[in-house]
């Protein structure tokens, strides 16, 4: 998994901001992060061992939320294009599975909000 680089973030530091280009995927190795809306309102937490920014890998686009370190945080980070290559190297079917999961998420969000 050498494609991942390790990045450290201090308590309160923004890891990415809503509206930024979605260029990287993050795996939260240590610590906890908070999710904030564009206006800075808290709406969720992500714990150690989970990922965030995964929609960016295969969709691109812009960030829909800001992510802020809640305490010191260590992340494994990978760029979108490298992530796509990594997934394909494991199995082309893995790319299909993640694309379909993300499409299911888009569908579920639409069902929830219409």
């Amino acid at each position: 998994m050498s494609q991942f680089t390790v990045e450290k973030f201090l308590d309160g530091q923004f890891i990415c901001k809503s509206g930024d280009p979605a260029t990287h995927l993050y795996y939260l190795q240590e610590g906890e992060v908070e999710l904030l809306t564009e206006s800075g309102q808290f709406f969720g937490r992500i714990q150690e061992g989970q990922s965030f920014g995964e929609a960016a890998i295969l969709q691109g686009g812009i960030r829909g939320a800001s992510v802020r370190a809640n305490g010191d945080v260590v992340c494994k980070v990978i760029a979108n294009d490298q992530a796509a290559e990594l997934l394909t190297s494991f199995s082309p079917l893995l790319v299909v599975i993640i694309e379909a999961l993300l499409l299911q998420l888009a569908m579920n969000n639409s069902i929830k909000h219409t």
Binding site: E54, A55, A100, L101, L103, A106
Partner: protein
């Protein structure tokens, strides 16, 4: 409550007109960057053109999954409409809808029934093939899948 509304559908007619190589073209990249092509459009185009998934057809009235049944395959709707009945809700889903993937990956039975309203063309995602891929994943990649599955199940 019986809404019976179409809750999700991709404009496939528009996407097919763009052609199979649009995503790789400069125009395709510009369309994604500008937002005129949405993330779900891109995902649908990639999945619909995938040679890794077999296609099948459900005729009108075919029960695709019953409440409480285990999924053997997940489905991506390429065309047509299905009726979903879940608790006291009833609604329709169209092209681009993905049925049963997150549920099947964690072994949950269906929380709804799904019936073809029209002829429905689908791509099938068989879970025995999904399981083979998942088994060999390192924790970082498994975490990506788990995160998306959790969000789907919580939605």
């Amino acid at each position: 409550m019986n809404e019976n509304k179409l809750k999700f559908s991709i404009d496939t007619e528009r996407l097919w007109k763009l052609g199979p190589n649009f995503l790789q073209s400069k125009d395709g990249q510009n369309a994604l960057a500008s937002g005129s092509l949405k993330g779900e459009d891109r995902l649908f185009m990639a999945l619909a053109s995938s040679s890794l998934l077999n296609t099948t057809l459900f005729l009108p009235g075919k029960k695709i999954i019953q409440l409480g049944e285990q999924f053997e395959d997940a489905y991506l709707l390429l065309s047509g409409e299905i009726q979903i009945v879940q608790n006291d809700k009833s609604y329709k889903l169209g092209a681009g809808s993905v049925i049963g993937l997150s549920e099947g990956m964690v072994g949950l039975p269906s929380k709804f029934s799904a019936t073809a309203l029209t002829s429905v063309q689908v791509k099938m995602i068989p879970f025995h093939r999904v399981d083979t891929v998942i088994k060999v994943l390192p924790p970082e990649l498994r975490a990506i899948l788990v995160t998306i599955i959790k969000r789907n199940l919580a939605a």
